[in-house]
């Protein structure tokens, strides 16, 4: 019976192709959006997870602001990534030096964001959107990063406020095609910096929240301070614990130290590597949910469109309903026929949406480093959503169709 209903529905859809495609349009767009958002954010999560894992199990990060939601026992039960949006950097140079002095801490490097979108000039060329960070000599080891060429600035460079810089691999390629530009001068905020090193390419870099970490310019912290009116505005401190030591214990020590330094106010967040993964996941889940809500709005519109078209279809096919009743179709037969038709329209739209999303996904994966991750869960969600949209939007038209009086329906022209 259902098989027959599906055959009838496809025949009816085929007989008015243009209308069917237009009917499906909103569903197609909604499903495409839903699948793209879901698979790409899942992909992003996987990539970032991998990227963070390259920093090693001993990585501990300290961030300004309290990003975590903890229970009474101090266990992290959730994240509040929005807390970082305030832009108030609570970490100080004293925090940094105290952490460096702690037992179990191998290296600790600060990150002072001098500019998230700086403009560099070299000769007559300008380079926009560069990520300028002031840090110390321990930066490469804090992230397990190596230099492609040259050397990193030393503590001595930092203390003397020497205007030297180490740049990311993409930036180096851009500025010095075919060479590395060691010893070259680049200008930032009217200060001339000498390039002394180039970082190795950081894998899966383009996924870092829109920043290309390979377009990074690193300068000594003291120089950064001088560009910021002498104030160190530290956003983050990245720490590598001594190998083989109890990382959890070091985390606890850091927390206690910072709490003491900050007068008992927990305006910082200390995370281990795995918690960092959780944090980025939860941040991405916010983005995912927000985008999915948009897709759902589109799908809702899709449902309304299907309902309207089904109402018109029922009206147009009044005579058919009369014929079907006269040859023995029951009200529930008629109800099912139109209900199944609405669901099939929704399914077809969703199928087109999935295929479209897959195609767009292939394209985006080709031009970026993000690979979409297709999970069974995503597929099942789409199927459930499509069925619900079809059923909900089809029920009223189908009910009206079933209720039609056969004699009057047969008279319909």
């Amino acid at each position: 019976m259902i098989g027959m209903d599906i055959r009838l529905a496809t025949a009816s859809i085929k007989s008015s192709k243009v209308r069917s495609i237009l009917t499906m349009f909103a569903v197609i767009v909604g499903v495409t959006g839903f699948v793209l958002v879901t698979t790409f954010i899942d992909g992003l999560k996987a990539t970032i997870g991998e990227q963070i894992s390259t920093y090693g199990d001993n990585l501990i990060t300290v961030n300004s602001g309290d990003l975590t939601v903890t229970n009474d026992e101090g266990e992290i039960v959730g994240f509040n990534p929005l807390a970082s949006l305030g832009g108030v950097y609570t970490l100080t140079e004293k925090d940094l030096s105290d952490i460096q002095a702690l037992e179990g801490v191998e290296v600790a490097a600060p990150q002072m964001m001098v500019s998230a979108s700086g403009t560099l000039t070299r000769k007559d060329n300008t380079y926009k959107g560069v990520f300028v960070i002031a840090t110390n000599s321990q930066f490469p080891s804090s992230f397990n990063q190596k230099l492609a060429i040259g050397s990193f600035f030393t503590d001595e460079d930092n203390e003397n406020g020497r205007k030297v810089t180490v740049i990311g691999s993409s930036l180096a390629e851009e500025m010095f095609p075919g060479g590395f530009g060691l010893g070259a001068q680049i200008e930032f905020k009217r200060q001339k910096f000498t390039v002394i090193g180039v970082l190795s390419e950081i894998e899966a870099s383009s996924v870092s929240f829109g920043f290309d970490v390979n377009r990074m310019m690193l300068i000594p912290l003291e120089v950064g301070k001088s560009l910021n009116g002498g104030i160190a505005s530290i956003q983050e401190i990245d720490i590598q614990a001594v190998n083989g030591t109890d990382v959890d214990k070091t985390v606890e020590n850091i927390k206690a130290l910072l709490l003491d330094n900050h007068g008992g106010e927990k305006d910082f967040t200390v995370l281990k590597q795995d918690q960092l993964v959780e944090l980025t996941d939860s941040l991405l889940n916010y983005v995912k949910t927000a985008s999915q809500v948009l897709a759902f709005v589109m799908l809702f519109v899709g449902g309304v469109v299907i309902a309207l078209i089904m109402l018109i279809t029922v009206k147009e096919r009044t005579r058919e309903i009369g014929i079907r009743k006269s040859i023995g179709g029951t009200n529930s037969n008629i109800l099912m026929q139109f209900l199944v038709e609405a669901v099939v329209i929704s399914w077809l739209g969703s199928l087109v949406g999935i295929i479209l999303a897959y195609g767009i996904g292939l394209y985006i994966a080709g031009v970026s480093d993000i690979t979409p991750v297709y999970t069974l869960r995503t597929l099942v969600t789409v199927v459930i959503i499509a069925t619900l949209i079809g059923a909900i939007s089809g029920i009223i038209p189908a009910f009206l169709a079933a209720r039609k009086d056969p004699v009057e329906a047969l008279r319909d022209e």
Binding site: M1, A11, G322, K325, S326, I327, G328, T330, P406, V407
Partner: protein
């Protein structure tokens, strides 16, 4: 044996001063194997009577029994089931579904009987063959002539082996030649023992019937019952339970119905043909 029993049936539309009496206390019984024509001017209630007997419409008052089954106070679902099993409709405007092939149209009533797709198509094919349209089974209705379409519709009406075939002006949209071939087909079905009720205002069409009812203002004015109905046919078919197995020699039949031009010449000999029916019935 009574196949249809209509007792004191009234059908009233509207309320108060806008009340229309479509059927006014009609009592009627039709035996198995009869070929009944209901005649009358438009608005006389002939279509309403047919809709009531065909279970498409419920009477306001009165009783209706088909095959001894009381039809009043059946649920919508049961009525649909009874329509499917006991009644085959043939309409003036054919009422085929335009998006389906002739074969699918004929098979349509079977979809509500829960038969498998292959069985449905097989039976529909047999039925189309019996009305001489086997070679047109994959045509859409807009590729067929009016006469052919009506024959497809008749095949559809027959597919569930109904107790009654109800035809509402079956030749109304056809030219005289196709109309005649359709009537010849109905006549043959009647000869095979089917009960046929036909609504028409065309006396030539009504002349095929062996009983003519004239309706006026919702009442049966005259009933030719017993006047020229060949009783032999009736008696003969009563013995066949559930009447049908309508067509036995399809190929012969096909030839018959496609030879329209020959048929056309025979228009004047209709009465003679009718007597022949009686004889045929007697021979059986």
């Amino acid at each position: 044996m009574k196949l249809i029993e209509v007792k004191n049936v009234s059908k009233i539309y509207g309320f108060g001063s806008a009340t229309t009496v479509a059927l006014d206390n009609v009592t009627l019984s039709i035996d198995r194997g009869e070929f009944v024509a209901i005649m009358g001017p438009s608005g006389s209630g002939k279509s309403t009577l047919m809709h009531v007997i065909g279970l498409l419409d419920q009477p306001t008052h009165g009783d209706l029994a088909i095959d001894g089954v009381e039809m009043i106070e059946q649920t919508e679902k049961q009525l649909a089931k009874l329509r499917r099993k006991k009644i085959g409709f043939v309409f003036q405007s054919f009422n085929l579904l335009p998006r389906l092939t002739a074969l699918d149209n004929v098979a349509l009533p079977l979809t509500y009987s829960g038969l498998s797709h292959i069985k449905r198509l097989k039976r529909a094919e047999e039925m189309l063959e019996s009305v001489g349209l086997k070679d047109r089974q994959y045509y859409m209705s807009n590729q067929l002539s009016g006469g052919q379409i009506q024959r497809v519709a008749i095949a559809r009406a027959l597919i569930n082996r109904p107790s009654i075939i109800m035809a509402d002006e079956p030749t109304g949209n056809l030219d005289s030649v196709s109309g005649q071939s359709v009537m010849e087909l109905l006549k043959t079905l009647h000869e095979k023992g089917n009960t046929i009720v036909i609504v028409t205002h065309d006396p030539r069409v009504a002349s095929y019937a062996d009983r003519i009812l004239h309706m006026m203002d919702g009442r049966i004015e005259t009933d030719s019952s017993g006047l020229d109905a060949p009783k032999e046919v009736e008696i003969d078919t009563v013995e066949e339970e559930s009447a049908v197995e309508p067509i036995e020699q399809p190929t012969k039949k096909a030839k018959k119905t496609t030879k329209k031009s020959k048929r056309a010449k025979k228009t004047t000999k209709r009465k003679a043909a009718k007597k022949k029916v009686a004889k045929k019935g007697a021979k059986k």
